[in-house]
Amino acid sequence: MEFPDDIKYTKEHEWVRVEGKTAIVGITDYAQDQLGDIVYVELPDVGEILSKGDAFGVVESVKSVSDVNSPVSGKVTETNDPLKENPETVNEDPYNEGWIVKLEMSDKADIDDLMSAKEYEAYVTEEKA
């Protein structure tokens, strides 16, 4: 299980990587492992305005359906459209090729209360136990 330390994590198992004003969002390695084979990803529309905590998309495995919530507020600037054809990318590379949306953040302070890699790893270990 990987926990890169250049990103922030939510309790709902999303991650966010901030590059300037842009927040790149996906689901964590733990989340994809729990879901199993991902067969469908529903993406939001570019231009959609999201508040922190909004469910903006859905990731489905063969057996289950999981909402994806936005870790930050902002406007959707780009979606990872290749996931429509190749949703398994989320399983294979959740932190890079498997990103889901990019947002233009409205408040950079939104990430302040998110978990660090260390905190998230501890959180997941507790959830598994």
């Binding site: 199993g36 067969v39 469908y40 063969v62 057996k63």
Partner: protein, 369 residues
């Protein structure tokens, strides 16, 4: 939660365990898709020990089974098995079962795990004639070995038995891996060739291990409830609690083929089912395929593609099961719709989280072999 004799094997294989009908069962080992495809292309091995077995012995065993179940057990041979139903007086489905006829005075039925207690009350409270009924559920482990290579793998472990001679839906008694007293049934619920092996409970792990050891070089994988569900759904086989339950009748569930209204003896539910047949069914369980994106899931609403005045709420049915089919790579599902919408080619909307997505009623099984 209850454990099967193979519980420790699942833990050793690092399966993900879930609760199912009161049992702690493996849902995934390596991944649903890989397990599913292994069964279609080579072989898979499933623990189905949670299923129940009731034994009927005595001079009236056959006539009692005929009274209890909808299929005609007088028409199958000794040593043969058949799919059948237990129905209520109202003609609704108590359970779907496999009936194994060893001879007219010795019959075994296999029932769903979640229905063992209900079915036991049902059969014992309707007992007729000179027959002894025994709940053997804890005496047997049950292993389903399924897939095109199942027979070849089983032969390696059951040297003395003539596996090719056991035809589909027939039974054979045999030693497996030196364990006497196993029953081989060429049955299953995946749409593939295969066997269900009734093993003495305590010896089940040994047989499981040997089948995996002999099967792995041929591509066999242990497969969990997740793959079992996608495999049966591609064939549109009913799963109790989903397509069928104690409120559905066999005709609307498209299970009329296991209800033999013309058999010589009366059976529980016959007059009610005859009445349904005479009046015509109002709804039907159909298979559908998504045209729009999205995956149908149990409980989603089904809506008409044209406004209709007779359903003011708009909803005309509901989804029983749905998934992304690993073999077809299409989103498929089953659901009840009014008979007028049940024809192949009918268009319906599935309400996927508030969005109406177009789907089409298709021929089933979804997977054509």
């Amino acid at each position: 939660m209850k454990h099967t004799p193979l519980y420790n094997e699942h833990l050793k294989l690092k399966a993900r365990m879930v609760e199912f009908g009161g049992w702690e069962m493996p849902v995934i080992y390596a991944g649903v898709i890989a397990e599913h495809l292994a069964v279609r292309e080579a072989a898979g091995i499933f623990d189905v020990s949670h299923m129940g077995e009731f034994e009927f012995k005595g001079p009236d065993a056959l006539s009692f089974i005929q009274y209890l179940t909808t299929n005609d057990i007088s028409k199958i041979a000794d040593g043969q098995a058949v799919y059948s139903l237990l129905c209520s007086e109202q003609g609704t489905i108590v359970d779907d079962i496999i009936v194994c006829r060893f001879n007219p005075e010795h019959i075994l039925i296999v029932v769903n795990a979640s229905n063992i207690d209900k079915d036991w009350d049902w059969v014992t409270s309707h007992k007729k004639g000179n027959v002894a009924i025994t709940n053997r559920s804890d005496d047997f482990g049950l292993i389903a070995l399924q897939g095109p290579k199942a027979a070849q793998i089983l032969q390696k472990c059951a040297g003395a038995a003539d596996i090719p001679a056991v035809k589909p839906f027939y039974l054979a008694k045999s030693a497996v891996c030196g364990i006497e007293g196993c029953i081989l049934a060429r049955t299953g619920y995946t749409g593939e060739d295969g066997f269900e092996i009734f093993c003495p409970s305590k010896d089940t792990p040994k047989i499981w291990q040997a089948l995996i050891e002999n099967g792995a070089p041929l591509g066999l994988k242990p497969a969990g409830l997740g793959a079992r569900d996608t495999l049966r759904l591609e064939m549109k086989y009913s799963l109790y609690g989903h397509e069928i339950n104690d409120k559905t009748n066999p005709l609307e569930a498209s299970l009329g083929w296991v209800v033999k209204l013309n058999k010589e003896t009366d059976f529980i539910g016959k007059s009610a089912i005859e009445k349904v047949k005479a009046e015509g069914i109002k709804r039907k369980c159909v298979g559908f395929q998504m045209i729009d994106p999205g995956i149908p899931r149990e409980g989603y609403g089904i809506f008409p593609t044209h406004q209709r005045t007779n359903e003011p709420s708009g909803q005309i049915g509901f989804v029983c099961s749905g998934t992304m089919s690993p073999s077809l790579q299409k989103a498929i599902g089953t659901g009840y719709v009014p008979t007028e919408d049940s024809k192949t080619g009918s268009k319906i909307y599935i309400d996927i989280r508030g969005n109406k997505r177009l789907a089409e009623v298709v021929e089933t099984p979804f997977l054509k072999k």
